[in-house]
Subunit: 210 residues, 2 copies
Amino acid sequence: MSVTWTMKAVGLSVVTLSLSVELLFWLCRRLRPRRILNEVLFFPSDLACVEHIYNPNTCFCPLPHGVETSFSRLLSHILSASSSLDVCVFAFSNMDLSRAVLALHSKGVIIRVLTDKDYAAITGSQIGVLRKAGICVRCDTGSVYMHHKFAVVDNRFLITGSLNWTLTAVQCNQENIIITEEPHLLQPFIEEFHKLWVKNDPAKYYHSID
Amino acid sequence: MSVTWTMKAVGLSVVTLSLSVELLFWLCRRLRPRRILNEVLFFPSDLACVEHIYNPNTCFCPLPHGVETSFSRLLSHILSASSSLDVCVFAFSNMDLSRAVLALHSKGVIIRVLTDKDYAAITGSQIGVLRKAGICVRCDTGSVYMHHKFAVVDNRFLITGSLNWTLTAVQCNQENIIITEEPHLLQPFIEEFHKLWVKNDPAKYYHSID
């Protein structure tokens, strides 16, 4: 009888211990916060060739090659889009950023661009180029300036900051960009884009013919 | 002998179980991510009186009272500074934001303001007002535009986004602001401010008299 109890007690100890260890590992995996994307880029960016992002080893221009810069990081993040890209920027005249958006469009990524009504027509604006390629662009008409400078990639991460999508911003100004997957930051921007996109639907401008 | 072993085994079970429970609670506390500040504000802000932030129940202006808006949230975050406020903004002409900075200065909070050399002199700029009050202001001279729009409160959280510290930005434009304690976002901005602050030290402009 006492031997049976001893065996039961030892068995109980072993089971308790192994269950505890198992539970600990499970909890460690469950509670350890997943390391989410949180990156900051500052501008002006160092000058470097970004051709390698599209065509490796095909460029012989005099700019430095194979150098990672703030701008090449930004381009890579944008080009990582696989399903959707929502762009909401005040000024969009940077040809490299336009090329990235066009490349995604030709791969079948769904692009939506929301921009300021006045700055859509500035010298060198890429808005016409995007529209010509069949990308859906809407202009905000309800405010003095649609001054946002953000993009949402695959509804997965947010790119936002002070940087307009212009050459001066990238190469000459003190600017910042945050890239984050933090849901409490990302989700409000997804909702803001949706709100502005619906609000600026050009179908609403047409007069009823009934 | 067997009774002793039984007691030992039971004892071991109890100790293992209680230690496991203790460890689990400790791990839960340790691994559960602390809920850090992550807030997004969109503008234009609804119009409301912000006088109650300074003097409760003393204002009888026709604006709505006691209403929380994007702007009142922004003001409250800035006014929560207890030791330092580093402001790095392109354009600073908003009188309510200037009042908040002056109020902090008079409370002994250490204020540093970094701004753009050209926009420091725009109509209604508050830069002269801040300087007159004894607040240390430096102008960025090394880039086309010092286009940042961020502030760091007590080295504890970051305020950043598209919003210049102007009345138009607050009341008329589509703008965004992120407020975050996320260390991977905060720390680079603290370092960027330090870098620009040192770089634009006016003592460097003086010619040597040796």
